[in-house]
């Protein structure tokens, strides 16, 4: 525990369990402070945090999961065709 500082240390193991919630800013304030304090003192966990943030940002990037070119049109055309066929058979 730091002198004059009431933050209780947290282990790396505990930090990993809470990492995803920390990225989402979904922790109670006291826990958030403890993790933030840990990151300030632990380069390994900080590297893990930033790497995880990069993953989340990349996955969330609209561009990363675009439909391949033409796919939207192909899907729509196929769907329209099947709907039309279905209407014919249904009468």
């Amino acid at each position: 525990m730091r002198d004059g500082n009431m933050i209780v240390e947290i282990s790396c193991f505990e930090v990993w369990k809470r990492l995803s919630e920390y990225v989402d800013d979904d922790l109670p304030p006291d826990l958030k402070i403890r993790l933030r304090d840990h990151f300030a003192r632990c380069q390994h966990c900080t590297a893990l945090l930033d790497g995880t943030r990069n993953v989340v940002a990349l996955i969330g990037d609209e561009q990363a999961f675009d439909l391949p070119s033409g796919a939207g049109q192909r899907i729509t055309s196929a769907l329209e065709r099947r709907i039309a066929e279905d209407r014919e058979t249904a009468g």
Partner: protein
């Protein structure tokens, strides 16, 4: 300061937990690095500002009524905004673009045939996702594909506990090599190799930006399970892509910071 951990050889998964924990015990005290972090993003800032799509359930229900009353051609308009969502779910299960298109089209047609069963008790997207997942899984089973090898190299002590394989990767991948298509392929593959229970949560939370509550409802699991599985999924994808992720990326739309422990 020499970082003993970086030079430590971690030979195999079996001994990994001990190696990792041992490294922690013996690593010399690291001095605080405050003041050297420069432009590192504040941890208090949410990783992404997301504008949730407007609640369209009411609009969807109106359209559905018209479709069921006979305006069948409107169905294509109804589902057009959900195409990307359907495709995103499909590609993580079947893994090939061609198959994902087939699954998407099949799932959408099934939604069309069963439209009368949608009562608006959940979001239309939730319903469509469930149909898509069922269709994709059905296709996998039908083809009797060999069970995909799931990446599971972290040590799991108990449900939710996960020990990352490495903390920093000293190899460098030149970011020029990561054109957007390669990046997308690598990302899709990394996600597709997750166990399904982790993958589904990751796609809904981080691709489609569903809330924890929405994800729990869509997948019929508890919110606690959503969080636990999301943690696992994110860390595994990070482990898979580690060579670049603590390095330096550019997708063209955002630049990810270089991160080195020192």
């Amino acid at each position: 300061m020499v970082d003993e951990f970086a030079n430590r050889e971690i030979a195999d998964a079996g001994g990994r937990e001990d190696a990792v924990m041992g490294a922690f015990i013996s690593v010399p005290a690291i001095e605080p690095v405050m003041g050297t972090r420069g432009d590192r993003r504040s941890p208090d800032v949410p990783h992404r500002t997301y504008t949730p799509r407007a609640d369209t359930l009411q609009n969807d229900l109106v359209l559905i009524e018209r479709i069921l009353a006979g305006e069948r051609e409107l169905f294509v308009e109804l589902v057009r905004p959900y195409q990307k969502l359907v495709y995103s779910m499909a590609i993580t299960v079947v893994k090939s673009e061609h198959e994902a298109e087939d699954v998407s089209q099949e799932a959408l047609f099934k939604a069309y045939k069963n439209l009368g069963q949608f009562r608006g008790e959940c979001k239309f997207s939730t319903w469509i996702i469930q149909i898509t997942l069922n269709e994709a899984r059905h296709r996998i089973r039908k083809q009797q594909r060999a069970r995909e090898d799931s990446i599971d190299c972290g040590i799991e002590a108990e449900e939710g506990d996960y020990i990352p394989i490495d903390f920093a990767d000293w190899r460098e991948i030149p970011f020029e090599a990561l054109q957007r298509k390669e990046l997308r392929t690598a990302l899709e593959r990394a996600i597709a190799n997750l166990k399904p229970i982790y993958r589904d949560v990751l796609v809904l939370r981080d691709v489609e930006h569903f809330s924890v509550a929405e994800t729990a409802q869509t997948l019929n699991i508890s919110e606690a399970s959503v969080k636990t599985r999301l943690l696992r999924a994110r860390l595994q994808v990070r482990d898979t892509l580690a060579p670049g992720f603590d390095g330096y990326w550019s997708t063209g739309s955002a630049t990810y910071k270089r991160v080195r422990p020192f």
